[in-house]
Amino acid sequence: MIQAKTSRAFMSLLRAGLWRRQVDDRAVFPLAPQEWKQVYEMAKRHTVDALVFEGVQTLPEEWQPARTLWMPWVVRVEKISRRNEWMDRCVEEQYAFFSARGIQPVLLKGQGLARYYARPESRVGGDVDWFFRSKQEFEQAIEEVREKGTSVERVAGRSAYYIEEGCEVDMHGRLYDSHNPFAAKYLKRLDKEERGKEQRWDLNTVSVPLLSPVQQSVQVNLHILKHMLAFGVGLRQLCDAACVYAHFQKQWDGESLERLYKKMKLHKWVTALHLLLTQHLGLDEKALPFGSGETGNADWMLEEVLQAGNFGFYDARYGGGSRPEGNVRKNTKKRVWHSFKKHLPYAPWEAFFFPIVHFYTKISK
């Protein structure tokens, strides 16, 4: 149970904005100006400012913040919306470029996940992520981008990135952020079972492939875990998980998904995630693929998320508080050790292999 008044207000406004309904924790309102300022700062740190603003607008007028606060806030919201329009155009152009060359990448994260929000324009976008189904397609895509004079940098984990006209594009040869070598065969089997169930996003002149509902959910959840094991993750990614569940409820075999997580030794972690999504983000329990009716609480997980902020950049426990220069986080070893201890009971194999894989990657460079 969150106690601090501003945290309660913040979460209540987020739930209202995410699901487009009335604020549910009215006991904490009205807020004082300084408390509103804290809510605004939290919303920015977790990159959910547009969603929280939608929640603010459901409050009675006399409870809404002063003009000096909501005016810059509404400008930010409109900028987020405009940026999303621009990023959608980037996705369209990039997919047209690749598909004209016989490459059919799948859109991951970001603009693809925004489709599952009640208002896609409210989701803060970062970069564009493409997944290439084969090594051959991945290498060809890199060559094609280089051929037009754009520099492409390779990074660890079979990925690469480039920047074109201000848009950062990440290219991935691996779909799932799993560091557990024993999980690979289960994920490979999942992909085989999901063939033919891909979704598509009809975006003006192109039809962009998206993952199947099950793959989308597993990909999002493993992505969250990866960042939790590293330096932390903010609420935006948790909202992604909630929206995927809400959008696709009943469209998957819950028992099969539960078996997969049990085989990967992730069932306890996913159960905690489910508790966080239902207890704190307001996801309807009926939308869960399995485990509705679980008791217990995920306060520890929410506390970690609230402390970390967007990708752990704002964690005051490790010298954070504001976005660090050059995005370089402080006290990285301490943070990874803390995450390891926290997550070992819940996701033992991922927690165990994560630092090993990252250490190996560093020394093999």
Binding site: Q57, E61, Q64, P65, R67, T68, W70, M71, P72, V74, V75, E78, K79, S81, R82
Partner: protein, 90 residues
């Protein structure tokens, strides 16, 4: 004529406010608030070209006012929009 496409009308805290997402810092002295009638016209006319006659007709339908009153109100409002740089430059 045409209202600036880059400006958005938002209703926040009971106020109808014109938002310019292009500004980096919000200059409070340049915040433009509309009354309910002006906000109604903005919503109806935004996103396309329009004539004064069209605006007059909208007011007359919505508020059941005489044409001369509607004409006077529309002219005053459009003059204000022009002075505040809310219209697309022709």
């Amino acid at each position: 004529m045409r209202l600036r496409d880059d400006l958005i009308l938002r209703n926040v805290g009971g106020e109808h406010v014109i938002v310019d997402p292009g500004q980096d810092m919000v200059d409070m002295s340049k915040v433009f608030t509309l009354n309910a009638t002006a906000a109604f016209l903005w919503q109806e006319l935004h996103g396309g070209t329009f004539t004064t006659e069209r605006a007059v007709s909208l007011l007359m339908e919505r508020y059941e006012v005489e044409e001369t009153q509607a004409q006077s109100d529309v002219e005053a409002l459009l003059k204000l929009f022009e002075e505040q740089d809310l219209l697309e430059k022709e």
